[in-house]
Symmetry: C2
Subunit: 124 residues, 2 copies
């Protein structure tokens, strides 16, 4: 694509946009986190998903601690250009609880997710 066709992301007043990570193969929605301009730049440069932690106030690479990185196959932008969609190949699992997806519960508390690792063994 011509560089002039690139979509200008609207990071808003807070300088962050939500990004949905979706498993590129299964289509499962894995997680939602926030992205700063620098996190998006690092994601595009490295091909590995980066986000911005609002609680720790820092850029982070998904999987930096656990090793469960996300290989980003495509970045999409929504109609208002204020939300991103990362299509990823997720190593092992995305959730710190050990589930494949962070959306492992219904709102009624039923566990519908797949447990793929033991968090105590990974985050020691």
């Amino acid at each position: 694509m011509d560089a002039t066709d690139a979509v200008e992301v609207d990071f808003g007043e807070r300088g962050l946009v939500p990004a949905v990570a979706q498993d590129a193969e299964s289509g499962d929605v894995l997680m939602l986190a926030y992205v700063s301009p620098a996190a998006l730049e690092r994601t595009r440069e490295t091909g590995l998903a980066h986000y911005y932690s609002r609680s720790r106030d820092e850029l982070w690479q998904k999987g930096a601690t656990s090793g469960h990185v996300q290989h980003v196959e495509e970045v999409r932008v929504d109609c208002d250009a204020d939300t991103l969609l990362y299509l990823v190949k997720q190593d092992v699992g995305s959730c710190h609880t050990g589930h494949r997806s962070c959306f492992y519960r219904t709102i009624d508390g039923e566990n519908v997710g797949e447990k793929v690792f033991d968090p105590e063994a990974v985050y020691e």
Copy 2:
């Protein structure tokens, strides 16, 4: 499920959580919008997706204008209970641009989405 098992959603300081709408059949991520406690309650009561518009500062039912409603089959909550996932049956299309999904563009500006209606005919 026993009512005591219900997950308590963390609506945070702003009283809103992001909600991802995913096509329950195709798995496509359709859109992201924000949900207030009242919007969630209306969604669960009616089985139709409701959101809260930050720009218009009001509760809205998806498809109230276009007729393109979302029938919610399941509501999921993420590990931190501060993001929702609506699994929906989407009538026609979710995007005001006429696309099936709001994520119809890559960040490089390539259109990878499916156009399913003429917005000028729907929003006259």
